[in-house]
């Protein structure tokens, strides 16, 4: 049996959402082909494994009794159990699926661990994860490949409060109200607010700075539609999902709207032909040009004929399976495809030469000066 690790939880504001994605994925993985093994990353960052973790009700009152601590080690594609500071190899790992949203998980931190342990992974590679995590870098990368984003101003906590009035003047000059204030590296909608005047702008910036030392202030659109589109690649073919429209109750989705109250979504979105195909084409292009892997979801803002990319989720909630699949069986097939794709990717990257013995260390020490 091929052992597939599913990582979820994490030191993150979106810990709980990740648990749902993770448990859902664990139970969807095809049981005849793979042995799905949970690796739950607790709020404090410890790794746990155990069959109890496959049950969602277990997390209501989380207790670590009955779970085993586990770790991955450099250059060994084996999961180790950690028991009273002793390591015990458990099994070889076939592939790892990363279901962590936000925080220390989505930004490439775990991709680095998988690479270092020589394990194929279902999630974007380091560069693309890190890029999608940071709202400013996303904008820089997107504009360089010719994709439209909203104009913005970046602020840093270290110097904002030193010259607050000057910075506010710059924002007012560059952007018109309303503006949207977002922490640069936080997922979902935590810390985000909309400002219609100077007072709200200041409050919003103070609020966002509680969550991140870097924030972006973006031009806020009025009368816009929010469209989501997901992409994944398998067998050399890029699958672009149908489009989904998110109905908004307020200007932005706040955290409670997004996760507690079910948001009204229209699927497939009612969009006329030309824009529809443009959005799908842009989605595919972003995925290919920025070298993504795994499943990503791109959030677009649409105003009349203008298309803007709002953000890229490198590990979307529920792996955005609902945009591709009608039911859980189809999700199971999709996961199998993703797992095999990750293994193929890993094999092809393994072809390149990784070390090179130039004999430098064999030179006698007298020849090496300092």
């Amino acid at each position: 049996m091929k052992n597939v690790l599913v990582f979820f939880g994490g030191v993150s504001c979106e810990h709980d959402v990740s648990v749902i994605t993770g448990v859902m994925t664990l139970n969807a993985i095809c049981k005849s082909e793979y042995n799905a093994v949970p690796v739950y990353v607790s709020r404090s960052g410890e790794w746990f494994t155990g069959d109890k973790l496959k049950d969602l009700s277990f997390y209501k009152e989380f207790k670590s009794d009955g779970l085993k601590k586990c770790v991955l080690l450099p250059m060994q594609d084996t999961l180790f159990l950690l028991k009273s500071n002793k390591l015990k190899p458990l099994f070889k790992v076939y592939s790892a699926i990363n279901c962590m949203h936000g925080g220390y998980g989505e930004g490439g931190e775990f991709t680095a661990i998988f690479k270092n342990s020589k394990i194929p992974f279902v999630c974007p590679d380091l560069f693309s994860s890190a890029l999608a995590m940071d709202k400013e870098f996303t904008k820089i990368a997107l504009s360089s490949i010719g994709v439209n984003c909203l104009p913005y101003v970046k602020l840093h906590r270290d110097n904002y409060y030193l010259k607050r009035d000057y910075v506010l003047k710059v924002i007012r000059k560059k952007l018109d109200f309303p503006v949207v204030i977002k922490p640069a590296k936080l997922g979902s909608s935590i810390g985000i607010s909309v400002a219609k005047d100077d007072r709200e702008l200041e409050k919003g910036i103070d609020f966002a700075f509680k969550f991140d030392e870097k924030i972006v202030v973006e031009k806020g659109l009025e009368n816009f539609r929010e469209i989501n589109c997901a992409v994944y690649k398998s067998g050399g073919y890029t699958n672009v999902s149908e489009l989904e429209e998110v109905e908004k109750s307020e200007e932005i989705l706040s955290f409670s709207d997004k996760y507690k109250i079910p948001v009204k979504k229209t699927f497939p979105a009612q969009i006329d032909g030309e824009i529809y195909s443009r959005i799908k084409a842009i989605s595919g292009a972003i995925y290919r040009k920025l070298a993504f892997s795994g499943v990503i979801r791109i959030d677009f803002l649409l105003r009349e004929n203008q298309i803007f990319v709002n953000e890229i989720n490198s590990i979307p909630g529920s792996m955005a399976y609902y945009l591709f699949c009608k039911d859980f069986n189809e999700y199971s097939t999709m996961l199998s495809k993703l797992i095999e794709e990750s293994v193929d990717n890993f094999k092809s990257s393994a072809l390149s030469i990784k070390t090179f013995d130039g004999g430098i260390l064999n030179l006698s020490s007298s020849k090496i000066r300092k």
Partner: protein, 523 residues
Amino acid sequence: MTLKNAITVLVLSTFCLIFFSCKINAIFQQCGYKIKEFFPAIINGKTRPMLKVSTYSLTFCVFLLIIVLFLSVNNTVFSSAVFILVCLHCGIYCITTSVIKNVKLTHRFLRIFITAILLNLCFCTATTLLFKTPKTHYFASLYLSIIPVFYPVLLSLAKIINLPYDFLRYKISVFRCEKIIAKNKNLIKIGITGSSGKTSVKNFLKKMLETKYSVLATPMSFNTPLGICKTVKGGIENFEVFIAEMGARYKNDIKTLCKIVKPNVGVITSILCQHTKTLGGIDGVKKAKNRLIEGLTGQKVAFFNNSSKENFDLYNKAECKKFLVGDGGFVKFKNAVQTKDGIDFELVVGEKTYRTFTPLLGFHNLENVCTATAVALYLQVDIGKILSVIPTLSPPKHRAEIIKTTSGVTVIDDGYNANIKGIISTATAVGKLDGEKFAVTSGIVELGEESENLNLKVGQVLGENFSLVIAMGINANSICDGVKSVGGKFIQLADMKSVKTYLSNKLKKGDVVAFFNDLPDAY
């Protein structure tokens, strides 16, 4: 009396002790194992714990005597009757007694507790041996019923027996601690004292200094010599700054602390009439705090928060490099406005003014921010870094903490704020917020003769700023008088439990509830 019966009495009395001691133990620990404070606390304390224990014991005693005197019973029946009675006695006591703050099972406590139990065994054996009459039943039952009342004395005796050992241990850990601190020659040592704001200033300063140094600070409100020893125990060779919070309940506390820490930088936050009973008036407080300035070593720099005349006097008196913070100082604040999210204000540093924000409640917190800023600036932390820390500050737990509940009620937890200045500051800050405002308080304790007047003032301030004042505890009457004098609404309730039920029926979305001094059992 047979040996079997003697053992039964032994076991039963130990059993009795363990159950009856829970609350008394907690109070003993909260008094810092000081016998001088312990007895007044258990006799005059808010809930009169000794009265309750005595009542229970007396009832028990009567029951036992009835059995012994009026029913002619044999040994077996008597033993089982006693056993059932002891169980009932302990059970009912435990159910009807609530311990607000449970006893912490520290080594020291366990040592004293076990000594007390051993003492009980000795007394018990002595009693049974001494009275070898046929009427041993009387003595046995009397002993059993008296033991809970006798327990505080046992505990004090146990403490006295442990004294030499504790003293030795204390000396050893202090000696070790001094050595550890002295080993790190470049360590910047900061001592913080004052009647209020110590923990806040320490936390704020730690956050600011951490942008440049690696900082060790005494955790939570550890402010005694042993607290400092515990903090330092793990070694400090990797740290560049050590911040020690210094509490002064008694005259020489700070002197002892200074001897251990040998601070280079001294910070006096504010001086109020607190702990006046143990320090001897406001002058005593002043003197006690000034020990920190006298105890400075090395570079010798002192910071004074110019919030009261007393502090200004100390500033004038100090004979080292000194800075004043606040009015007339080089760091101060102006144009402060309190909102439900925090305070908008302008921080003035020398000639420059920075407009900023901090998510705290009450302007006394701004004084703390200014003090921390002044010290951080002196230690060459970049003003940009300091300004980036200020909007992320949060108060220590239970110090004007703003909690937004899911039901839309804003809870202000000012549970540890036990001084008039803090209460005034929080109350006026809350007073400016929207919505119905409720205050829950048990007043200020330990003020000597001024107690009544100060609690009257607490009542006045709360009455002016809140829609309803809920008073409880021994100071409830003075507080209510205060509220009445300014024409506010008030209600007097027995304890936290009834407050909770009362409030849960009354609160609605948008309301604000502030808790002042939810004090532990000792009061």
